[in-house]
């Protein structure tokens, strides 16, 4: 099968990762996957105010996913939408297992994700960027989190759907994992498939995460290399 951009079925879109793109932030990263671009910035760990919102035994992770108004064909209205609030939640749950939050009681770690250009896979690009930004900030982590979506078009299982593909896929399944232990931290799906096919799509997405993981490590090493 040939895809719109001549990719193979199990090939991810061209990915570029840059860390340290927001100088003011404690950590930041920009991830571009095909025509989707997300920037993430991390502030913290820092003391959480007001005090009654603090947790005595761990840091509170807060995530904010936003699509900027000019990121899609039709302008996105600024401010939180139902979609963005749900994605903020699943992004938080995708990152939480990777962070040693228990090392920072009473603190908060804020992760802000802005999607600058959207062509499908914005939550996964956002999670990739966020995990890199956390790494860049030096937040202690069990592993990086890598994320990508997979689907099924016709009889073919396809990795990292682009916008046009997302319109015709039988299912859209964003997956995030900690690749070192292969533990899944984000799993969503909408579509309509028998369970055997769901398992195949999931395993394809996990394969994609491994590819992205290598790129993430490369980018972090690039930033910290000694001349």
């Amino acid at each position: 099968m040939k895809r719109l951009d001549n990719r193979k079925a199990d090939e991810i879109r061209p990915i570029t990762i840059k860390v340290g793109v927001v100088k003011q932030a404690d950590g930041s990263a920009m991830v571009t996957m095909g025509k989707t671009t997300a920037i993430a910035a991390v502030y913290g760990p820092r003391t959480r105010y007001p005090k009654w919102l603090q947790e005595s035994d761990k840091a509170v992770l807060r995530t904010y996913y936003t699509m900027v108004p000019f990121s899609t064909d039709e302008r996105v209205r600024p401010g939180p939408s139902r979609r963005s609030q749900e994605i903020s939640k699943v992004t938080r749950l995708a990152l939480e297992p990777a962070i040693f939050l228990e090392e920072f009681p009473r603190a908060t770690i804020c992760v802000f994700i802005d999607v600058m250009e959207a062509d499908a896979g914005t939550r996964t690009a956002g999670i990739n960027a966020a995990s890199m930004a956390l790494g860049d900030a030096g937040v202690p982590m069990r592993d990086l989190v890598a994320a990508v979506a997979a689907g099924k078009i016709g009889d073919e299982y396809v990795l990292d759907l682009e916008g046009k593909e997302e319109e015709v896929t039988k299912c859209d399944m964003p997956v995030a994992c900690m690749p070192r232990t292969n533990k899944i931290t984000l799993l969503q799906m909408d579509g309509n498939l028998p369970p055997e096919d769901v398992k195949k799509v999931m395993n394809l997405a996990l394969k994609g995460c491994k590819i992205i993981y290598e790129k993430q490590k490369e980018a972090l090493r690039e930033k910290w290399k000694i001349e």
């Binding site: 984000l186 309509n192 769901v198």
Partner: protein
Amino acid sequence: MLIQKQYIVNLASKGERIDGRGSNDYRKIVIEKNPIRKAEGSARVKIGDTEVIAGVKMSVGQPFPDKPDEGVLIVGAEFSPLASPDFETGPPGEDAIELARVVDRGIRESEAIDMKKLCIEEGEKVWIINVDIQILNHAGNLIDASALAAIQALLCTKIPEYDGERVNYEKKGTQKLPINFRPVAVTITKIGENFFIDPSLEEEEVMGTKFVITSRDDGNICALQKSGSEALSVEEIEKALDIAIKKGNDLRGLLS
């Protein structure tokens, strides 16, 4: 409270539960059809002490430009502060939004309703189906109860009469909604190393993670949502899918 939490975790490690249920048992489920006379269709679902009502209201409006010949489905959820000491007033929070969107995806992606049959005049007028979920008591596992109430309410719905100008809400309609599939959600929680379906509120408070699987009559899966923080392995997810499909069939048996 801390002692009780530890007690639940200890029991869970042996595959046991605080209320004596087996790990794959639901609490007692009671479904009441059409408790709300003003709604076009409604259903009250109780799972143990958890209680929700789903109501369907229908109106005529404009279709979405990209689907000019299809009806519109809108699912909302309200966590009323009367239902739990943890619910606050104000606009829907993260959990209410997630619940509504998971139920919405289940109905939409399973192609439960034949939306093309709800077109009145292409590009101009279609039926708009509002499914609103109201939580009456939160004792755990709101998503399964809400998804069940939503599909039962849709099954009970009678399309009101429309004369081309206004909808006659006074008289009950005669025509049912064109429903092809019945999606139901099954929530699986992981406590320690074991899986438990239908978590109670106490179990939700100690769980590591939960995972919601929506399936339809033919066994196809139409929505997934990992909705807790702990990570899961591939084997665990595959096991959860198998449990959820079996249990989904049981839940569908309760619909009428």
